[in-house]
Symmetry: C2
Subunit: 508 residues, 2 copies
């Protein structure tokens, strides 16, 4: 497989490129162009679009790993739903972070402020994504590839809308015979996996919407997409909105996070009322708040933004996610679960067989605190000979700023030790060497790549503490996948940030 994908002749490349750039626009596999490509002054109305960064070929992915990732998603949903419902446990996690992570501290304070007046909505929705890489243990002579989790996203899991389109595009290119005949034993119909992420994520939002029930005052109901503004990755989100309307008849509106207080209000019973600026005479009752903003400190530029988050959290709308669910996704949680010999996984997943399948996907993660594991981690991280097997990650959400391998010791040297606990140390996952070609802004780049598999999951649950009933899971399903591929010289993911491309799996 080392010669996959094959080199393309100029004519082959030209053909695929032409097909790809037309198909992508015809099917909304698109992004708004970066300012470096099209300046705002050239297109003040923002009508231009371009092909989203995509791979030309579907990347090879071990079938067993793919199937395992999808089949354990329901257990992951259950795990994170259980964590989000365990406020006491989460409090212990948060208390270790509040002094080093302002963002976590603010989220927690917001949660506490809601608690003071009382949560009025017992239902919570999670549109999750568990991200993995294939790991080939370099210490084994004949390594069987396994999945290792990179992170678990509990808020604003993106690219579900584009992922379905990429897998459809690769299938189109196959059906067209666009791939060289030398690939015919590899790229074939039953090897290409269609991601159902658009439909499944929309189904999740529709489930929340339905579970909310009827309006108490006969208002029209809607789902609210709380978004960043501007948003270059808007089509990814739009595909969910369109599916929600077409497949489930559910209305949704997009609300820039910064406009929350301007266009929403709380009724006396904390019902969230949205009044669209374009039709001020009609108000909608919000059943479900889907956050595609608010996940990163960058979204909170002024104090009013925290008020807005509090305002939304207080409301009777179902939050996707709630603050507790968002906090369940912080890296500290992943770390305590994945710290060798951790007792925590068993707490949330009493079924040993299920827990052990998840455990296999954990890469060892250490805290940088004063615990025993923390002390061990500090040694590993500050020693240049061992640090090369690790990555240092900030606990907070939003990606970026990871420190890799030999850069870790000098980084820590400059950082006051009091701030070390804001990071976790994770054993590097060693993915198999792969190649692919990526198109971005019309430029084709070939080379070594690293693939990250994201498995989407939908979970809707009732938190017993609000209603005084038993907590229960109402919906729990795997919701398609994302394959994100980046050049192996870069060590960051995040397609919209300009570091990768959307891909699909060709199972081998």
């Amino acid at each position: 497989m080392t010669d996959y994908p094959p080199e393309l002749s100029a004519e082959e490349q030209n053909f695929i490129f032409t097909e790809l750039k037309d198909w992508s626009i015809a099917h909304g596999l698109a992004v708004r162009p970066a300012p470096s490509f099209v300046q705002q002054s050239q297109d003040p109305a923002g009508v231009l679009a371009t092909t989203a960064p995509v791979t030309i070929f579907p990347s090879l992915f071990p079938r067993r790993c793919f199937e395992e990732g999808l089949s354990i998603q329901k257990a992951y949903n259950e795990l994170y739903s259980a964590i989000a419902r365990d406020e006491d446990w989460l409090q212990g996690i948060v208390e270790e972070l509040v002094h080093v992570d302002d963002f976590v501290a603010k989220l927690w304070q917001t949660h506490l402020a809601v608690k003071k007046t009382g949560y009025v909505q017992g239902l919570s929705l999670g549109l999750f994504r568990s991200d993995y890489m294939v790991h080939e243990d370099p210490s084994h002579s004949n390594p069987a590839p396994g999945l290792k989790q990179v992170e678990f996203n509990t808020i604003a899991s993106s690219f579900g809308g584009l992922s379905s389109q990429v897998s459809a595009m690769h299938r189109y290119l196959l059906n067209l015979g666009a791939y060289p005949s030398s690939t015919s034993a590899i790229i074939k119909a039953d090897a290409l996996k269609q991601s159902q992420s658009t439909l499944q994520l929309a189904k999740g939002l529709a489930a929340g919407h339905k579970a909310y029930g009827e309006s108490r005052c006969k208002r029209s109901l809607c789902v609210l997409f709380v978004v960043q503004d501007p948003e270059r990755n808007v089509f990814d989100q739009r595909h969910l909105e369109y599916a929600l309307l077409e497949e489930y008849g559910v209305r949704s509106f997009r609300l820039p996070f910064g406009k929350t207080l301007a266009y929403t209000a709380l009724d006396e019973d904390q019902t969230l009322i949205y009044t669209p600026p374009h039709s001020p005479s009609i108000s909608y009752e919000v059943t479900t708040i889907y956050f595609r903003a608010g996940y990163s400190p960058d979204d909170y530029v002024k104090e009013e933004d925290w008020e807005a988050r509090l305002h939304l959290e207080k409301s009777r709308a179902i939050k996707c996610p709630s603050i507790l669910t968002q906090l369940a996704g912080c890296k500290k949680v992943q770390q305590v679960l994945a710290t060798p010999h951790s007792p925590h996984l068993k707490r949330f997943l009493p079924d040993d067989a299920v827990a052990s399948r998840l455990l296999k996907t954990f890469a060892p993660i250490y805290p940088l605190d004063k615990s025993d594991a923390g002390k061990e981690a500090r040694k590993l991280a500050t020693d240049p000979s061992s640090s090369t097997r690790y990555v240092l990650k900030p606990q907070r959400e939003g990606g970026g700023n990871n420190i890799y391998r030999k850069a870790i010791p000098p980084f820590l040297q400059k950082l006051p030790e009091t701030q070390w606990p804001a990071y976790i140390l994770m054993e590097m996952i060693e993915p198999p060497p792969l190649k692919n070609a990526i198109i971005r802004n019309g430029v084709l780049e070939r080379g070594g790549v690293i693939c990250e598999l994201g498995v989407y999951g939908v979970c809707l649950w009732r938190d017993g503490s609000v209603s005084g009933e038993e907590g229960e899971i109402l919906e729990n399903f795997e919701a398609g996948y994302l394959l994100r591929t980046k050049g192996d010289q870069s060590e960051e993911g995040g397609v919209a940030a300009g570091f990768g491309a959307v891909d699909s799996c060709c199972l081998v």
Copy 2:
């Protein structure tokens, strides 16, 4: 209805505009940007796209006219198929044109050249579009609106791929509640007509493909889209290609007309073989040639282009259209049919009831030749007081260069009389005053508009003269519609040329 569409508040307009610009890209209702918007140097790979010029509101259209236009399309298909099969009659038409229209002359010569060696394909396919305007006779006190035909297109009838998307977009905006509530009695589900043009035109191509039969030498079969290069309106065509593959499993390739001789060859039995440049080892047998180029003299820049047309016409592939079918669409044919008291319609449509329905859609058309009707026309055209009710149109295909009303006399004065027969004189259609708002390149323009309804038709027939059998029609169906809307200050159609927008019908 004179206050339709209503004025929009800034917020309403902003909302609709945002919805429209996102939906359009997410659904391939797009064009490549004009060079005046994005220079080639900025985007050499041509990956940028923009919303196709569209109307914000569906335009009002009389229900009876709409239904009549769709229901007579099969009769129009039959008529033009009969004309295309009547070589002797067409020859008479062409002989009147060859001295003034080089393009018609060249087409006819090409036909004769094929005839010399003999046509080997008796099947012909037409993807037609009959274009109308609503006419309110100004001489009547209470005019009942009627449809009047602007032209009948027998080659490269465009916008079928985008038209389906525009009607879907207007429906989306309705379902979203994006239109002001004051329009709710007008814009409603049963008034919005969904155009099925993409699927129906693809069905037509698939019918041709299937009727061709199997390959005599077990080659893979394909449909060939013969296209202009570059093509800004590429997504319109792509939607047909995708539907052809997805709905009917039929492969198609795009071949720039100028590359015809480079990539196609004729077998000894005139089978047309296409060898894609990206996979030179695999050859395809072409079942159907779909011309989206070659309809205008501008497509024939060098002598080789005429060789290419001859080469294709000679082949055993089904032509959509053949040269005779293309010639059947020349304005001279429309003129002789629509010349008052013309005997020709009866020749092709012996059924009086059917013929009289078509006749009602003819606007009086006069030749500018030396016949009696021609003499009358010359008087009308050169007199400034009567010329205001007329338009002067070139006989050749491709749009553009129409001369309107009071501009006609001075235009004819400058034109040598020998060239006058290259034009026909047509009574102006007087459409009802309408308003709408058009978005183009992100700029919104409101104002008075003129709408043109195009009804697509598919016809597949066997020309008896090739096989020695009876001629017969194998497929004949109406294939959706196009509403094309332009500002009423401009007097040209043609959205891609920058003079109009794609629209959909809101029946009243």
